[in-house]
């Protein structure tokens, strides 16, 4: 028998170490230490109900266990085999105690469809992929379905593009299929340029065959025989695994001529990108593949009409493709039964920032931000206060407390002032300054703007200048209005999606964190203590004993003696000259009397 005690950060904060010790002591006292083993685990993602104790092999899941409950668990459960009911998890819906963790709703919060094989198979071995049903969807469409039926099936499933905009995939395939031509292309967008995003990379590294298979299915559906993957050269492992997968598929006759005896030919080539964010935009991507400058052009014409080499082309994102084979094998109705009304299936997110369980997650559409942050992500690091969550990367926005119960799908995120984007999700606590965050994303877009059109090239630069002014304490209230004006013009007039969405991080923080902007402008204060120019280090003259430790450590010689001696102290207090202080923070860490603070 095993007793698993959560040793994650959340549960450790609530005495899990003591629980482990109590288990060890009590079991030893009863001579059970050889039969029952106590094991510390990683976070169960259930920190809110922590500390968690799980008994194996019967999977009993105890929540909110206190050190003094241990004796009862040992006596009742371990010795007599009776579960301790009042420590079992209570289902909030039907108020029933659930003993077996496998039946807890919380385990159903994450559902892996696109990531179904990631971490399970050896991605460089096609046999493992085939043993899990790989390429059977391709076999099925080639032997049992017409191209139109494939398009219809994908349309019916409700699958929408995971690259950001959420265009219905089946409809896109159908539009492309209408433009029959001797030469057509299936393009996989593996550019993944959002800072911090790694969903697509993980799929290509963990399950490259699903992309190969899906591209062939798409080729059959639209009538294309060529596939191209546009992948950034910064992804060497993903490139290697795709190459291996393509070579193995060719060897097995799953790519190449006359696939599975059906007469259908399809093959895939890789094209490498240099890692420019704008090259993820489909027209820029196509130009880049053609050897031209990676700059967007106006749509229409859409790639479905005139894409790679002016031939009809269908561009889809990696994660979009990863969903395709399983829709074919399990059926459109199955897929459409998952998710919310207008957004079907699941979405993969790269969870990052001030959250306990950073990592890759996949949840059904319609899951709330709260569930993701608290139940899957395990809550905010160090038990700090949640402040904002950024979705959609440089094109998205920051949502706050009041949006936590927003179900995640394309429409509701857009209505809340952010967007789905490709799946980056950065959680922030009260140590983040929202003005600085907006500035960070704008710096990114300024850097990545291709410069072709002036609203984006010049407008974003102006916005960045204003934000810089504000973070340095030189902003005015007029600047805040000017930010809004500029944002509106850029959104309306920029040529491509990069420029059209680049003001979003600024607009959403203006909307949701107006007070914080005003504080920077009027009070010249950054409450998170992030904007260095607004920080002031001060010595409390009553607490300072005059030891001079800070003075010795200050690299800027900004600290000097005053002529004030606080009551009860022997030496004069120190003071900091704000004009000399470089805000390095060295003094704060040397003061043993907590006399120095940041204002």
């Amino acid at each position: 028998m095993h007793v698993l005690v959560c040793g994650g950060t959340g549960c450790q904060a609530s005495a899990s170490a003591q629980i482990i010790k109590n288990f060890e002591d009590i079991l030893a006292a009863k001579g059970l230490q050889d039969e029952v083993q106590v094991v510390r685990t990683g976070c169960f993602g259930f920190c809110e109900k922590g500390p968690i104790v799980k008994i194996m092999p019967d999977n009993t899941f105890y929540t909110q266990v206190k050190p003094e409950d241990v004796e009862k668990i040992v006596n009742e459960h371990i010795i007599k085999g009776r579960k301790v009911t009042d420590l079992l998890y209570m289902d909030p819906e039907n108020k029933e105690h659930v003993a077996d963790s496998k039946h807890m709703g919380f385990y159903r919060k994450q559902l892996r469809i696109a990531l179904r094989n990631c971490g399970f198979i050896n991605p460089e071995n096609i046999d493992e992929c085939i043993s899990r049903g790989g390429y059977e969807a391709l076999g099925k469409v080639l032997s049992e379905m017409t191209p139109q039926q494939v398009v219809d099936e994908i349309t019916k499933s409700g699958l929408r593009g995971r690259g950001g905009a959420g265009f219905p995939t089946g409809v896109k395939w159908g539009l492309c299929a209408k433009n029959k031509c001797d030469e057509m292309y299936v393009i996989c967008n593996a550019d993944e340029g959002d800072p911090g995003a790694f969903m697509d990379r993980s799929i290509m590294e963990g399950d490259p065959h699903s992309i190969v298979e899906a591209m062939a299915i798409c080729g059959y559906a639209i009538g294309a025989t060529h596939g191209l993957v546009y992948i950034r050269a910064e992804y060497p492992l993903a490139i290697h695994r795709l190459q291996v997968a393509i070579a193995q598929a060719r060897e097995y006759g799953l790519l190449g001529k006359d696939i599975l005896g059906s007469g259908f030919d399809f093959d895939i080539e890789l094209r490498y990108g240099a890692g420019a964010f704008v090259c993820g935009e489909e027209t820029a991507l196509i130009h880049s593949m053609e050897g031209k400058r990676g700059e967007p052009t106006l749509k229409p014409p859409f790639p479905a009409v005139s894409g790679y080499m002016a031939k009809p082309s269908n561009v889809n994102n990696v994660e979009t493709f990863a969903n395709v084979p399983i829709i074919i094998t399990k059926g459109a109705d199955w897929f459409a039964s998952i998710g919310s009304e207008k957004s079907k299936g699941t979405k993969v997110f790269a969870l990052a920032g001030q959250i306990n369980n950073v990592g890759l997650i996949e949840v059904p559409m319609g899951t709330t931000l709260r569930d993701i942050i608290y139940e899957i992500g395990g809550g905010i690091k160090g038990g700090r206060k949640f402040k904002a969550v950024q979705t959609g990367g440089p094109s998205g926005g920051c949502l706050t407390e009041k949006h936590l119960d927003t179900p995640i799908d394309y429409e509701s995120l857009a209505a809340a002032g952010s967007m789905m984007g490709s799946g980056g999700m950065v959680v922030m606590d009260d140590t983040s300054c929202m003005v600085a965050i907006a500035k960070f994303y704008l710096e990114f877009t300024c850097e990545e703007s291709c410069g072709k059109c002036s609203p984006c090239r010049i407008g974003n630069k102006r916005m960045l200048e204003i934000l810089t002014k504000i973070t340095e304490g030189r902003g005015t209230m007029d600047d805040l209005q000017e930010l809004r004006n500029l944002a509106a013009v850029i959104k309306d007039t920029a040529l491509c999606g990069l420029g059209q969405t680049s003001p979003n991080p600024v607009l959403s923080t203006l909307d949701n964190f107006w007070d914080e902007y005003v504080e920077h402008v009027v009070d010249k204060k950054c409450r998170a203590g992030v904007c260095k120019k607004l920080m002031r280090y001060e010595i409390d003259k009553e607490k300072c004993i005059g030891c001079g430790a800070c003075k010795k450590n200050c690299p800027a010689e900004a600290i000097s003696k005053t002529d004030y001696i606080a009551p009860g102290h022997k030496l004069p207090s120190m003071m900091i000259d704000p004009s000399k202080c470089i805000k390095c923070g060295a003094c704060i860490s040397t003061c043993k009397f907590s006399a120095i603070s940041v204002k």
């Binding site: 385990y107 071995n125 997650i361």
Partner: protein, 92 residues
Amino acid sequence: MAKVKSLAELKAMREKLQSTLDLREKSNDPDSFQTGCMGYCHAEPTIEVKCPGKDPIVFGHVDNNRADEILTKYVMNNEIVDGVIPVNYETI
């Protein structure tokens, strides 16, 4: 490797492969390989151990010493060691 010529052949292949993979799992010859990201970046690096007849277990924060411990304790003696990462998702 000869080419696969039809869906039926592919399915037959899957069945055969499933049983050989089962065999590999049931055999006592350990095998290790690199997979894709399992999603547990907060506990990296992680390894998953699948012993015959048992649910796979993921261990987090693995280094050389921990790997030794996992091999000698869990793989050879079926003692679970600290640092198990609980599975928190369903898959299809």
